[in-house]
Symmetry: C2
Subunit: 260 residues, 2 copies
DNA sequence: AGAATTGATTTCATATAATGAAACTTGTTA
DNA sequence: TAACAAGTTTCATTATATGAAATCAATTCT
């Protein structure tokens, strides 16, 4: 048995189990194409012997991971639907977000936070901290009211005018700094503005000297499941970061299944 | 090396490639559970040696088919999202529908059709025909106007009052039998009624003596991509079949990714 | 604190199970 | 009708996945 030239497939991920690698190559090849592919093409694309490709594809077919139409063209099978739906509720946003957050931290040099809404608060569930003397730092697990955080304001936009009004009534919109929005009307106006522009800023609304830019993360159902934000001392915050954040947020949303 | 007792795993699908089977068992085990599972549990559930399970899971992890949280608990990975989205546009409704249609034909003893909208017509794309002397039969590829078929009426409901009105204007609602709906207003009323009850009937509206019950098939995006229907001579059509059809339609929609 | 238990990982000799070549089928082209 | 092309099956060969056992890490118990 001759080993396939390794240099020819350096771009493909390799693990400890050959067949699995090869099976994945075939699956990836099918996913990359937007139409069913013949055995020949599939084998060539994956640098596999047709015989081998055939055996693997047949095995995958047994498990509905691939299906074949009458002309023996292969496509991804229904199992991907079935299992994919399971994943949805299971993906660990924190794990997926971590690398993206690290990049963002290195680009900005500031603290990056991942938050989730919990009742009338946002909870800090993950963070990436820069190596600097002065930095903004939140403890994982700590909370903050919705109306004084960038992500919180975007979350309020999600619950609509009615939800926002209800929140204002329940919480009483307590003042944290001179910049805190404390009127139901003013809050809703700001919240709508944030939602429209796709990101929110918190200008010393929670703590004097601390600013923040945040975006929402959406799951496959379009639901806002988390928020991603950069926090920095006022003088260091750059408006340009909004674009970086929006891009990062988009990527993260996609990775957890958001289509739009 | 001792082979695992075969009788103990007869319920699991087996193919020509052992590792692939085992990998799928592990994936299924993870999908079946609604929370991340430990290696031990996963190995036990799949009747695999922990060592083997570990190696396979590690390999799958390389390809993002599984991910592990910090406590070494395994869950399905982000690749399922990514590839699952690809599938969506690729599933071959005809192939998935065929077995369901066969069951339906056997339950009713009548012809079952799968149709798709194409412009202002429905096209017959697949069928299951009973073995009887007299039966309703459509040629695959043949067409019929929307307003004289059960599925067509449901499709019209999808395009809304405006779309329905536009269709009426374009087509002129030609009369096929004395039962054909030929007024824009009457059609829209019927169409709404059908949509509301979840299925439609065609009572000799296309051809005297021929009746039909139809439902819609939806894809992952909730879009109506096809119709499923039973056609029979008037005296043989049973109203109870509506429930059968609705159930079958639901199953088919789910299989091609519809969540609701 | 130290021992003992449990589970996750790594190592390694072994033989199973995946492999590629070649033969065989089937359907299409010249 | 023959030559061809693509898919499928067979089969001898050995590379490859395997399970036992050893190691490592983290808890729990005494």
């Amino acid at each position: 048995m001759k080993l396939v030239n390794v240099s020819a497939m350096t771009h493909k991920t390799r693990s400890a189990i050959q067949v699995l690698d090869r099976a994945v190559w075939l699956l990836e090849a099918m996913a990359a194409a937007d139409r069913p592919l013949s055995l020949k093409v599939l084998a060539a694309d994956s640098a596999l012997h047709p015989s081998t490709a055939y055996r693997i594809l047949s095995a995958l077919q047994c498990h509905d991971l691939v299906s074949r139409d009458e002309e023996a063209h292969y496509r991804l099978g229904p199992s991907w639907q079935r299992l994919g739906r399971q994943v949805h509720s299971q993906v660990d946003i924190r794990a997926v977000a971590k690398p993206i957050m690290n990049v963002l931290r290195d680009q900005t040099g500031e603290t990056v936070n991942l938050t989730a809404r919990e009742g009338d608060q946002v909870v800090y569930i993950e963070r990436a901290i820069p190596n600097r003397m002065m930095r903004v730092e939140q403890v994982i697990g700590s909370r903050a009211p919705l109306h004084v955080t960038a992500v919180g304001k975007l979350m309020l936009a999600e619950s609509g005018a009615e939800g926002c009004r209800a929140y204002a009534r329940r919480s009483g919109l307590p003042r944290y700094t001179s910049n805190t929005l404390t009127t139901q009307k003013g809050l809703w106006a700001e919240v709508q503005r944030c939602a429209a522009q796709g990101y929110a800023r918190d200008d010393e609304e929670a703590e004097l000297g601390v600013c923040c830019i945040g975006v929402l993360i959406r799951d496959a159902g379009g639901e806002a499941v988390a928020g991603l934000s950069v926090s920095a001392p006022r003088e260091r915050l750059r408006a340009e970061w909004a674009a970086l954040l929006q891009e990062a947020g988009r990527r993260l949303s996609q990775q957890i299944g958001y289509a739009g």
